[in-house]
Amino acid sequence: MPIDIDIAHVARLARLDLTAEELESYKTQLDVILDHATQVQSLEGDPREESAHPLGLVNAFRQDERRPSLDRDEVLSQAPETKDGYFVVPPAMETQ
């Protein structure tokens, strides 16, 4: 499969504000790595399932009961900006 990465699109999806120069450099590097990675398509033999957990765990549920959470002030103390017990961010959409 020919690889032609739309690197600006990928960077946008990944929320990485990179310069044009950086994008070009990463695109070159990704081309080399992906060229090597296409070896996964050479897998022979019967079709297989995709697998993740080696011991076949499928899901784990916790007991639905109350327990103490992390200390709110301690958690908020790590945030760049807070107000009245909330995290503060700029507007999610541009304002007119």
Binding site: M1, R12, R15, L16, Y26, A37, Q39, E74, S77, A79
Partner: protein
């Protein structure tokens, strides 16, 4: 033998005989750090006061007849991607500069409960992505055997600390070889346990289906002590194993007579240094002389394991690292909207290797490419597990070099990501399968650089893996310690 060279077992004997105190052990480790850190940079943070307080308590407890077991009063280090409440935890990233976790990782809590004294937090490649510690945002660690060389990675700081004696043992994390490869390059023991047996709660996530915490130590027995302290089911980790656990210490003295040992055909040849191959062959011969039945085994999918890994790990990393957005913790960049703030934060906070893998993973998961890359890589993973299963029908353990090369020079692979990735070619298959594997030092090459021997076992096969590892340790008789030339005079 000076205090900082003792194994945990030896230190524990002296502690219980009243010959030394935990405070003595700690001061020996701290002195060692004071003497070597300027050259090695194994640590990012040393918690002198916290550690001294814990050591005093360990001594008081022992005086009162309270003994928490083998790790009681023993100074250990933690890789800086494991959360320590009240002690800065950065994962070697600028994006987490100054982050003080509001909670302890499960492994941190368990080490504290086992009476261990936490000396500090060790250096790593940023978010554990790398094989040399050169991707750390806070500077490279160096190899105690040759300070012009890297200690391996990503748990290179932990490996250097254990090798030089500024910790008696340490924890690392292993996603593609990040415990075993640095252990091999620094002449210490390094173990990746079966996936799911050590809780990942409080481990800053890299690739969740591969990440596993494990010990680096100066002996196989010490690795067993550490493992027995940290593992076990944890409801706070949804992938934690809840069944019966093996007995790492049960068969340490049983030898390899009658054991079937498979030598992996694919992990040899081109790209492997002759000194590494010679040392590994010599150990295989010794195992045979000791009564093991040795056969060559082929696991053809190992040839494409690296490709699968470099799709799966970045894909999972790109999802895990989405949480670093400048909102709840860590660095924040400038931006007029939430999205521009996040994109600036991440561009400023992530180093080049992390950025590269986030881009690679985002691409591999993006619409139109999922089946060809991530999905296909997960199928390769199934095929690797099948290869392992087939091999374990006829052998008890598999063996190979841990790393194709000895420690390489700082800077040598920084311009070639693919060459750096090849450092992990022997270790990656066990991560993809979720199996345990251990590296044991077996000798030095002609440049006085350590060579590691890897023993792999099936899932939950720790008992037999430790049995073989202990035999390898005895047969190798590796007792050399690094000497920093500047300190020798």
């Amino acid at each position: 033998m000076t205090l900082h060279e003792l194994t945990i077992a030896e230190a524990g004997e002296r502690l219980r005989a009243g010959e030394v105190s935990s405070s003595d052990l700690l001061e020996a480790a701290l002195d060692r750090a004071s003497l070597t850190e300027a050259q090695l940079h194994a640590y990012l943070t040393i918690d002198r006061e916290g550690a001294r307080e814990t050591a005093r308590r360990a001594d008081a407890d022992l005086a009162d007849g309270i003994d928490h077991g083998p790790l009681h009063g023993v100074p250990v280090a933690l890789k800086d991607n494991m959360c320590t409440r009240g002690v800065e935890t950065t994962a070697s990233s600028q994006i987490l500069a100054g982050y003080i976790p509001p909670y302890d990782a499960t492994v941190t809590r368990k080490l504290k409960e086992a009476g261990a004294v936490i000396v500090g937090k060790t250096n790593l490649d940023e978010f554990a992505m790398g094989s040399s510690t050169e991707n750390s945002a806070y500077g490279t660690s160096y190899n105690p055997w040759d300070i012009g060389r890297v200690p391996g990675g990503s748990s290179g700081g932990s490996a250097a600390a254990v090798a030089i004696g500024s910790a008696f043992a340490a924890l690392g994390s292993d996603t593609g070889g990040s415990i075993r490869q640095p252990a091999s390059l620094t002449g210490v023991v390094g173990l990746k346990p079966t996936y799911g047996t050590v809780s990942r709660y409080g481990l800053i996530a890299f690739a969740s289906s591969l990440d596993q915490i494990g010990p680096l130590s100066r002996s196989v027995q010490d690795a067993a002590f550490m493992l027995e302290a940290i593992w076990g089911h944890d409801p706070l980790d949804a992938t934690s194993y809840a069944g019966e656990y093996p007995q790492p210490s049960a068969a340490l003295d049983d030898g390899v007579s009658g054991m079937k040992v498979g030598v992996v055909k694919e992990l040899a040849g081109e790209g492997y240094e002759p000194a590494v191959e010679t040392a590994v062959s010599a150990m295989v011969d010794k195992l045979s002389d000791a009564g093991a039945a040795v056969v060559e085994v082929s696991l053809p999918t190992f040839d494409i394991a690296l490709s699968a890994y470099y799709l799966i790990a970045p894909a999972e990393a790109s999802a895990n690292l989405a949480r670093f957005d400048g909102v709840r913790y860590g660095h924040r960049g400038e931006g007029a909207t939430t999205e521009t703030l996040m994109a600036r934060t991440r561009a400023e906070g992530f180093g080049p290797e992390v950025t590269r893998r986030v881009l690679l993973g985002t691409y591999a998961l993006s619409a139109g490419y999922y089946d060809a890359f991530y999905g296909q890589a997960q199928k390769v993973r199934s095929a690797i597990q099948e290869d392992f299963s087939r091999a374990y029908e006829s052998v008890d353990v598999l063996v190979s070099p841990t790393s194709p090369t000895v420690a390489f020079e700082a800077g040598a692979r920084m311009d070639d990501p693919l060459a750096m990735y090849l450092s992990d070619i022997c270790t990656i298959p066990s991560n993809l399968a979720g199996h345990p594997a251990i590296s044991i030092p077996i000798g030095l090459d002609e440049q006085n650089l350590p060579i590691g021997f890897q023993v792999m076992a099936p899932a939950l096969g720790e008992t037999v893996m430790f049995q073989v590892a202990a035999a390898v340790e005895t047969l190798a008789g590796f007792a050399e310690r690094p000497v920093l030339e500047e300190l020798a005079s």
